[in-house]
């Protein structure tokens, strides 16, 4: 059985004037255990809405959304979330206290949760930074804390909403390498939202490209089958990039045409 399945999922919102508009429509997708799925699409296509639905922060307006065959009814600790900005961290807690927050909620004893949090800080490369508060950390470090916080809770699925979108290019590249390494070690299922094609190819086992919004839906799924290094020197990488780029470009043009009409 699929780990996650979305069947004809739609989500519509009501605008301030009271008109309903659809963020995503007829969205169909199944995810298997252990995948690193990257959801790619132009801005405004509804990819963050999909993540929000998977997390359980919002519920679908239509269709079925299931985790191991059971409908998702709300947020739960089997789905960890890493947000784009740093405003989800708790600035009054230190890095290690942020990481152990989930364990604290469950009443894990102080010593044990501290030990586990330290292991995860180590895993994300933040050894020695545990006593710092989030405002004292750089953008990349804060995202590492977020990843450690989500992983320390041992979720089945890690949901990431453009987690490196606000980082500079160098930091972003380093974070991608780290995340890929962590995923290989942890064997956790990842859903990763991005609008960066390179990022999707470097990280994913599969990429889904969305159509332009409103009412965005899945246009095409592509497996990332690259033998060897995932760098621009690899001809398969370039071919895949071109294919995805063409798909995204179509949607961007369509979105512009819609807007102009």
């Amino acid at each position: 059985m699929a780990l996650i399945s979305l069947t004809d999922v739609g989500k519509s919102f009501r605008s301030r004037e009271g008109r309903a508009w659809s963020a995503v429509a007829d969205f169909n997708l199944t995810l298997e255990d252990g995948e690193f799925y990257c959801l790619l699409g132009p801005s405004g296509c509804g990819k963050s809405t999909i993540l929000s639905l998977l997390a359980g922060f919002t519920l679908p307006s239509t269709g079925r959304l299931e985790l191991s065959g059971k409908p998702i009814k709300g947020a739960s600790r089997d789905r960890g979330v890493v947000f784009q900005g740093d405003d989800s961290l708790y600035p009054w807690l230190t890095a290690v206290e942020n990481v152990e927050f989930g364990l604290r909620l469950r009443g894990v004893d102080r010593r044990e949760r501290r030990d586990r949090a330290m292991q995860y800080l180590e895993l994300v490369g933040l050894h020695g930074q545990e006593g710092k508060h989030p405002p004292e950390l750089s953008g990349g470090m804060k995202q590492r804390v977020q990843i450690a916080r989500a992983l320390a809770n041992e979720p089945r699925i890690l949901l990431m909403d453009e987690p490196f979108g606000a980082l500079d290019a160098q930091t972003r590249g380093a974070m991608q390498v780290e995340l890929r390494r962590i995923w290989e070690r942890m064997k956790v299922t990842v859903v990763f939202i991005t609008h960066d094609i390179d990022e999707a190819i470097v990280l994913g086992t599969r990429v889904g490209v969305m159509t332009a919004g409103p009412g965005g839906t899945l246009k095409k799924n592509l497996p990332i089958d690259i033998p060897g290094e995932r760098t621009r020197g690899n001809p398969r990488y370039i071919a895949l990039y071109e294919e995805i780029h063409a798909l995204v470009r179509e949607e961007v043009l369509r979105a512009n045409a819609l807007r102009a009409a």
Binding site: A55, G56, F57, G74, A75, S76, R77, R79, G80, V81, F83, G85, D87, S88, L89, Y90, P91, W92, L93, F101, G102, R104, L105, R106, H133, P135, E136, L137, S138, G139, G140, R149, A150, N153, L159, A166, L167, D168, A169, T171, R172, D196, I197, H245, V248, R249
Partner: protein
Amino acid sequence: MSEATRTLPVSDTAGAAGSSASSIWQAIKNGFPYFLGFFSLFFIWHVVAVYVVASVLFPPPYAVLLRAIELLQDGVLVENVGASLQRIIIGFIAGSLIGIPIGLIIGSFPLARKILEPWTESLRFIPSVAMITIAVIWFGIGEPSKIFLIIYTTVFIVILNTAAGVGAISANKIRAAQALGANSRQIFFLVALPATVPYILTGMRIAMANSFTTIVAAELVAANAGLGVMLWQGRMYMQIGDIFVALVSLCILGFTADRLFRFGVAHFAGRYDVTP
């Protein structure tokens, strides 16, 4: 497709722990402009009083200091300062204790906001000074009327700031807690409340400043002791020195209270940085 990457400044707070000699030098360098500011205050006061105004109606600093020593020695200053300070402390603490829970409720529940806002949004525009007459009629000229007025001046600003603090919590802080498995009680006590602390403390600081204004006005109208009484009697008997001693006392008390409050925040709640 070109991607514009936003670059975040990497805040590597370099450990600026120099030798102790250089840190003393640093302290002097930081403290000197401050000292200069205070010094110029008294210096200009002195120059204006002695050379520009040159009247008994505007005593220079040293004359005020001499009068203050006299008033300290016969206990008048201590009695009046003590009376004002006691009222402020009781009213300020009581007002904060009332205001914080109400602010949390208003900030957390839209229904409560709708019900309570007509109260807060109308009553807060009555200056506490305007409530003096009714406070004296209701509670007499003793302590209860003063404490009532301090509570009145404290409670609304604390409510307002606390509610604003709850409203300013980013949705992602709550969502992150939900995804980590928090129930609503845990979200309130472990996320919403600590996230609101800086706003509560800011509200309390403003309230403290308001308390000084209010207490003097209340004591001017009706009281047996306090800095306001000192000011009023100084006018009645033309004791300019006493008036100035009272005014300077207010400066020192307000300054000290604010510093103590900030120090307390830094010491006990350092992790919640309060707006300077």
